[in-house]
């Protein structure tokens, strides 16, 4: 079994009217993790997912998904999909929506009924399965949407903006469900522009802009170049030591110095030298770019009227060395 579930190259989509939504997208999605596809509105994320799920016909596409060419009907039985702004008939009950989708995937009525019960329980809607969709909140509808996406026990689950419009509690529950899917061995493919959400759960990401993939890899790989150690000190550092530290690659500010790199070894002599001069080390931390910064850097955007750039990237959770 291949470790890559989606491997596409040079995917293009030009709509009638000349709009070029995808300009040669190449992408590899590893098996069994949460993959995030990031990009600003109009970047082509949804078009790409729709091509992978056979909803949109590509202008050009080569590649495979689950070992079969893109567009292969039989592959669709092995994937699940929750579209952006999913709409299910309001007069249907939650359980009926799941059974309806089960029917579309060719699951027998008996099995569909059984699955519906299990999935309602999984998404925490077991008490609401017999209520109509019209009575549900946005978060509840999304949970039913997620349940229907899992009805055929898919190997890949495509989720297009799954937390859009969902309140913070609902988002937390959604994240837990996604992690559970990953733990079950599924590949979760999320489209989103909510970077904070993705940063918390994604194993790997691709950043899309103007119909092209501009960055792709694990978050650790993509932020590798921005990794550095920051050191906050108290006390006056002698000019001689300053020169030595600068020569060793450190950048020195008023009461802060930083060293680019992810290896902690070069920091050690620096710490020894500072201690030897009785300089108090207030804080030492390993920092890297946030996903938001990486994204902004990749798409070259600062927003309308925005010039703000973070001088201090947020620290990695649990990565503090000294405080």
């Amino acid at each position: 079994m291949s470790d890559i579930v989606i491997d596409i190259a040079d995917v293009r989509k030009k709509y009638r009217g000349g709009v070029e939504a995808l300009r040669g997208v190449s992408l590899q999605v590893p098996r069994g993790g949460i993959f995030g596809l990031l990009g600003p509105n109009g970047a082509g994320k949804s078009t790409l997912v729709k091509i992978l799920t056979s909803i949109v016909r590509p202008t050009r596409c080569s590649g495979i998904m689950l070992g079969a060419p893109i567009g292969d009907k039989s592959t669709l039985a092995r994937i699940g999909y929750l579209p952006e702004h999913a709409r299910f008939p309001e007069y249907l009950k939650g359980g009926e929506v799941i059974r309806y989708v089960a029917g579309l995937t060719g699951i027998s009525r008996a099995e569909a009924g059984q699955k519906a019960g299990q999935l309602l329980e999984m998404v925490g809607m077991q008490d609401w399965g017999k209520h109509k969709m019209a009575t549900y909140s946005k978060g509840m509808k999304q949970r039913i949407g997620l349940a229907q996406a899992l009805v055929n026990d898919p190997e890949i689950v495509f989720l297009d903006e799954p937390t859009d419009g969902v309140d913070p509690k609902g988002r937390l529950e959604m994240r837990n469900l996604l992690q559970r899917m990953r733990d079950d061995g599924r590949t979760v493919f999320i489209n989103s522009h909510l970077l904070g959400e993705l940063e918390m759960i994604c194993d790997s990401v691709a950043i899309m802009d103007k119909g092209e993939i501009v960055q792709q890899g694990t978050i650790a790989e993509l932020t590798e170049k921005s990794r550095r150690y920051e050191l906050k000190t108290r006390g006056t550092i002698s000019e001689e030591l300053k020169h030595k530290l600068i020569a060793a690659g450190a950048e020195i500010g008023a009461d802060m110095m930083s060293m680019v790199g992810s290896d902690p070894a070069p920091i050690q002599p620096m710490l020894d030298a500072l201690r030897a001069e009785k300089i108090t080390i207030v804080e030492l931390r390993e920092v890297r770019q946030s996903l938001e910064e990486l994204f902004m850097e990749s798409v070259g955007a600062t927003g309308v009227g925005g010039t703000q750039k973070r001088s201090t990237p947020p620290q990695l959770p649990g990565k503090e060395l000294v405080k």
């Binding site: 709509y15 729709k50 799920t53 056979s54 909803i55 949109v56 016909r57 009907k73 039989s74 669709l76 039985a77 994937i79 999909y81 579209p83 952006e84 702004h85 999913a86 709409r87 299910f88 008939p89 309001e90 007069y91 249907l92 009926e96 059974r99 309806y100 989708v101 029917g103 579309l104 995937t105 060719g106 009525r109 569909a112 229907q148």
Partner: protein, 330 residues
């Protein structure tokens, strides 16, 4: 619940109940006595020498209410408009972003999906007509002791007529995803085809039925003259009738298809178009001439012509709709 999603909610059931409830009760309330016809379960009695309990005319009259009034006007017009309003949102709602995506991302082919949705909509209408026909069947059986299964031809014919209009709504929905627009276009096409069918019908009567009945009309004064014998059809009128018929040929024959019921339903061995068979023995020669002319009028289109040309229209429209549905990026 399988592939077919439920279509519509309580409001649809309610408007069906109202539309069909009244006519069924009215129809079932008609009865026959030795003196004539009773209505509203005997509340009123209309005296008649011919239409009395046990007579052939009572059978004919009761069936004629069904084939000539209830089916073409109530069911074939008013109820079909209501059905169209109820069923029209099915495709536009299905095609909306967020709804269509789930369905077409499944392994089922788009053609199957399209046809299941289309036939599901027709099934909804067929069930409503079936319920109506069951009531009529029981009313006939109880009132006249005539358990006529041919009544159920109405289910097939009315569903077919509905499908001829609905296919236009489906094509418009696939193109625009708008319920209102698809309803309006369907009604417009229906209106145009009805106008042409009515024109053809009037033209046929003026061109052939009137001369065959021995009647002539003075086009300047409008006065009619009864010759008492069959006359020659006017060549100019025949030419004009031919043009109207040719214009209507590729269009769906909703009205004619509804009236096919008169050919399918029989009373005492004669179908409802055989007017002369229901005349009294002592009918005059002129009455026989008129009845024969009306028989020719009722049978001027063959079943193959009505069904074939209508079906060709439906297949063509539905084929385009299905092709667009299959090729479209949603």
């Amino acid at each position: 619940m399988g592939l077919l999603p439920p279509i519509g909610g309580e409001e649809v059931v309610l408007d069906r109940a109202v539309s069909y409830g009244v006519d069924r009760v009215m129809y079932a309330s008609v009865g026959f006595t030795p003196q004539g016809v009773s209505v509203l379960f005997g509340a009123y009695e209309l005296k008649n020498d011919l239409i009395v309990e046990g007579s052939m005319f009572a059978d004919y009259f009761y069936m004629m209410i069904f084939t000539d009034y209830l089916v073409p006007w109530w069911l074939g017009f008013f109820a079909l408009v209501l059905a169209l309003i109820s069923v029209c949102p099915i495709f536009p709602d299905f095609l909306k972003t967020g709804s269509i995506d789930v369905a077409i991302s499944k392994p089922m082919s788009r053609v199957t999906l399209f046809l299941v949705k289309y036939l599901g909509s027709l099934l909804f209408v067929a069930i409503q007509v079936l319920v109506f026909c069951v009531i009529v069947f029981i009313a006939h059986g109880v009132r006249l002791d005539a358990w006529n299964l041919e009544i159920f031809w109405a289910v097939l014919l009315l569903t077919f007529v509905f499908s001829l209009i609905y296919c236009v709504a489906v094509l418009t929905a696939v193109l625009t995803r708008s319920t209102l627009f698809s309803l309006l276009v369907a009604l417009l096409v229906w209106g145009v085809t009805l106008s042409i069918q009515w024109s053809e019908s009037i033209m046929y009567k003026a061109t052939y039925v009137m001369p065959a009945s021995g009647m002539s009309i003075n086009m300047k004064t409008g006065a009619t003259n009864k010759a008492g014998e069959e006359l020659e059809a006017n060549a100019e009128m025949e030419r004009f009738y031919g043009i109207v018929r040719a214009v209507g040929m590729p269009l769906p024959k909703t009205r004619d298809a509804t009236y096919l019921l008169r050919k399918k339903v029989t009373v005492r061995g004669n179908n409802m178009t055989m007017s002369s068979a229901f005349l009294e023995d002592e009918a005059s020669a002129s009455e026989l001439l008129e009845a024969k002319a009306m028989e020719d009028y009722d049978n001027r289109h063959s079943v193959a012509y009505v069904v074939g040309s209508s079906l060709a229209f439906e297949v063509f429209i539905l084929g385009i709709a299905c092709f667009i549905f299959v090729r479209k990026d949603f």
